[in-house]
Symmetry: C2
Subunit: 280 residues, 2 copies
């Protein structure tokens, strides 16, 4: 796949996460404001940019386990990703990647640091022993989209225009001022342009739903400290089901645990993030 942009043939997601090789291990990116939530770019979108750059540096194609620590707020615009291989093995390879932006002072500031192990999902056996059950939720057409948002679709974050997200009404109480008090968020998720999910877009998908903190009655910003994603299988075409749960909000921090199921009822991704909560 060429590194140059080919907008006619690429989805919004592919275009906006594309990176250009500057020199070995160094990729330039142009971060799109289309994935913003307020002034901040979505952490999952940024992880996909880092994941794409790291995948071009490591000898294996697919992210198996990716951890990101979010160091400072990333703005839309130019960025550079510096990647390094820590170990290249036969079936797995491990490396780091850091996203930098040049600040107002002309200095490069590190925004995000990633440590990840890649492999080849296509090379895995097809044995599956899963005791986890797909979420029970209403069919897609009975779920809420950004169009249904009480304050109107213009009040939803910019990223919502990139996504085809339909939230389970049972986890939408927050949108009408009646949060359930349960740390749960569930929805059907696709890309608005119809592009099917792949391992790279799963890195974005784990961070695409509104924070569970909203259903816990908190309304403030919930910045991610750390996010770890395990991609366990290539997703089948079709919409994903994304379930997020929070069991422990304590001392101003909470975890968000994510399962992503594909249209073939396969658990394709597990992730957990540690986030800070602004307590009311």
């Amino acid at each position: 796949m060429p590194d140059t942009l080919s907008e006619a043939t690429r989805s919004e997601f592919d275009r906006d996460t594309s990176v250009r090789l500057r020199e070995p291990g160094v990729h330039d990116a142009d971060l799109s404001p289309g994935w913003a939530i307020g002034h901040a770019l979505n952490g999952g979108y940024l992880l996909a940019v880092l994941g794409r750059a790291l995948g071009k540096t490591l000898p294996h194609p697919d992210p198996f386990t990716v951890t990101a620590h979010y160091l400072s707020a990333t703005a839309a615009g130019p960025a550079v990703v510096r990647s390094e291989t820590a170990r290249a093995g036969r079936t797995l390879s491990t490396g780091t990647a850091s996203l930098f932006q040049t600040g107002a002072d002309g200095e490069e500031a590190e925004r995000i640091r990633v440590l990840a192990t890649y492999g080849d999902l296509g090379a895995l056996g097809d044995d599956v022993r899963t005791s986890a059950k797909p979420p029970i939720m209403p069919p897609r057409e009975q779920c809420f989209s950004a169009q249904d948002y009480p304050a109107g679709p213009d009040a939803t974050p910019e990223i919502s225009k990139r996504l085809d997200l339909r939230l389970d009404p049972a986890t939408c109480g927050w949108a009408v001022g009646a949060p359930s008090g349960r740390g749960e968020m569930r929805g059907w998720l696709g890309l608005a342009d119809g592009r099917d999910a792949d391992p790279l877009s799963l890195l974005m998908a784990v961070d695409a739903l509104p924070p569970t903190a909203f259903e816990l009655g908190l309304s403030g910003w919930v910045p991610t400290v750390e996010l770890t994603v395990h991609v366990r299988a290539r997703p089948a075409p079709g919409p994903l089901r994304v379930c997020v749960t929070t069991a422990n909000l304590a001392g101003g921090f909470l975890e968000e645990d994510v399962q992503i199921w594909d249209s073939a009822d396969r658990l394709v991704t597990q992730s957990r993030q540690l986030a800070r909560a602004k307590l009311d």
Copy 2:
């Protein structure tokens, strides 16, 4: 606390995870064979060594979220940990640490790479909204220790002598050739020398129980690819309850999800690891 050893006043755990400052960001360690399982050193023990060294480099004392990728097998004996600060903020600081050993060829080989964010657990508010429930398991005296192992305590791994581990009989079927088929392992955990748990020993505790894979009917080695630990609170004195669950064994990989509860019924740690399974 001095970096020199003071065996008279330290526990086995403190002695065996101690590090000596060589120069800023570089610590020497002497890895103890006392934490071995077969020929390999326990990944949680090694994480505690790395966590101690990184904690001496970063400005904050406690591990909040620590991710380790295990690159190559670590042997007992000398090792060096090189740490680096990525960002030092007011409430959180982030850094990396790598453990190296000198191979037979005289070259330094990287064994483990860590990316972590530290903070001050003592500075957190005491608000807790936890929906997770402590595990239901028999009292400690009704659980199985290494003394009860059918093949005798000498057949148990070396690490078992460092631990006061009492497994819930409901998750011990594997020890008598009758695994339950459920991906569950639960037990009461303390250190054999009576030292109480702290944030550093929790990094070890998340990896101290036998693999859930045993209860899934697998008997082979289950090497950790990646392990992420969230320490959410300082543990109260007394034994910990550790619950490990595996929901998804697929393509030769499985996750182990861990909750650790302290004697005050507080969820003090969550962790997840991605491991490789040798399928029978």
